[in-house]
Amino acid sequence: MIAFENVAYSYGGGDLLADVSLRLAPGSFHFLTGPSGSGKSTFLKLAYAELLPSSGQVMLFDRNVTSLSRDDVARTRRRIGVVHQDCKFLDHLSLAANMALPFTVSDRESAPQDMVDLLGWVGLSHLSGALPPQLSGGERQRAALARAVIVDPDVILADEPTGNVDWEMSLRILTLLVELNRMGKTILVATHDLNLIRQAKAQIQARVLRIAKHRIQLAGADL
């Protein structure tokens, strides 16, 4: 699905990531951890083609990202649901309209019942008409997760999805991600919350990757 082959990414003259090789198998669950500024978000941006590698190859669904046209990138992103740390909502649109954006931009109609079910799944049925600034941090994260899965993507990438919520809400979001993985989705979660990772590993088979010294290491044994 997503494969990195000797990928490096440089910014401002220095390497942020170097010699990264990784393959996300279908249906797998990965955590990506590391200190702030270690390159977790950069790794995710490379994985959904917001950034292009300085060297090496990033393959998305067996296609090299550097060979993708702008329209191809757009089509590829419809197969990857991304939960951004800051959610990336359009503040002038209602929660329901924001959740339906992946459908809207592909000129497709979301099934009303699917929308109702999805809102119920993330526990936001009563807020469908609310504007994003009216939502709490946890509500925004759950809504972002709902938007990420609305077009039934193959892969879900989440960047610190529990960064701004309390522990109870973190567990709730984790439960949703675990449910998605059990439905066959490939999941990659960037987080520095080791407790969350331990909690997840108690429920599912998850690999833990750590970025250290610009490289990715398997860190499962440390947890």
Partner: protein, 298 residues
């Protein structure tokens, strides 16, 4: 609790909704389109009026000529008769007549007063000639006149007509040039407004790209908005311009140029094409600006 049921919006409407509706560029686009179209209506009126004027002058002057006869008093009538005889045999002439002394006096009266002793002065005899279609051979007529009446000079008004028609034709071209310049200025201002809107909404565009929007979708959302705003502004501008032209004084008997500035007959329909034309200009300008700006985003 279920979300409120609402009638699903069309894809085009939803595309419009993803871009925030208000902003400093909204009124600027509408105002620019309205003002430019208002000016365009006047430029169009000028151009059409100049065209009519050129045609009218050309037609009126082209169909008349004057023969001026200067001859000794004892030869005057003889040569006048000879000229009239030549004219009677010349094909392409609808009518001709020698002006009477009273008519000649009336022509000179504005300069010399009513008491001019016309009989005592060597004033040339004037003969008015009206051309038939397709016209006469002026060079052949000149040669025949020089043989029959050596003192006759044919003035077919060419030297008067040419500068008048040239002036009117250039006025018409100026009108057309003004319309083109106004259109170009409108395109430039709408391009600037579109770029400002795109820059203001850079984060919105980024979000749309992240959720899988193609450039064409994002551009369409902006292009539709700017095209509709321009169409609305231009419609108001055209209506105001038409009302302004209609309020100009009507053509009077003197046929002064200013009183003839306006539309005539089907000419009133011309301003109606300006709003769609402005919308097309906005469509192309915004589309070009949008794609250029989107190229810089990943």
């Amino acid at each position: 609790m279920k979300p409120p049921a609402a009638k699903p919006a069309s894809p085009a409407t939803r595309a419009l909704q993803v871009v925030p509706p208000s902003g400093p560029t909204a009124w600027l686009t509408t105002f620019t389109a309205g003002a430019m179209t208002f000016l365009c209506v006047f430029a169009l009126a000028l151009s059409l009026a100049s065209g009519r004027l050129a045609d009218r002058w050309s037609e009126a002057l082209a169909r008349t000529a004057t023969i001026r006869l200067s001859a000794p008093a004892e030869q005057m009538q003889l040569q006048t008769d000879a000229i009239l005889a030549v004219l009677a045999k010349t094909p392409g002439i609808a009518s001709f007549r020698a002006l009477t002394d009273a008519e000649t006096r009336a022509l000179l009266e504005p300069w010399f007063g009513p008491d001019l002793p016309i009989e005592a002065l060597p004033i040339p005899r004037l003969i008015e000639v009206v051309e038939a279609r397709p016209g006469y051979d002026s060079e052949g007529l000149r040669q025949r006149l020089s043989g029959e009446a050596p003192g006759a000079v044919l003035d077919d008004h060419t030297r008067w007509r040419r500068p008048l028609v040239e002036a009117a034709t250039r006025l018409r071209l100026l009108g057309v040039l003004s319309i083109a310049l106004i259109g170009a200025a409108m395109a430039a201002m709408i391009t600037l407004a579109a770029r400002a809107a795109l820059a203001t909404n850079a984060e919105v565009i980024r979000v749309l790209r992240l959720v899988g929007a193609k450039d064409s979708y994002i551009a369409r959302a902006f292009v539709r908005r700017f095209t509709l705003r321009t169409l609305a502004g231009a419609s108001v501008g055209a209506a105001a311009g038409i009302a302004g032209v209609a309020a100009l004084p009507a053509t009077d008997a003197a046929g002064g140029f200013l009183t003839g500035l306006g539309f005539a007959g089907t000419g009133w329909l011309w301003p109606l094409i300006l709003p769609p034309l402005a919308a097309i200009v906005a469509f192309l300008a915004t589309r070009r600006a949008a794609f250029r700006q989107l190229r810089d985003l990943t």
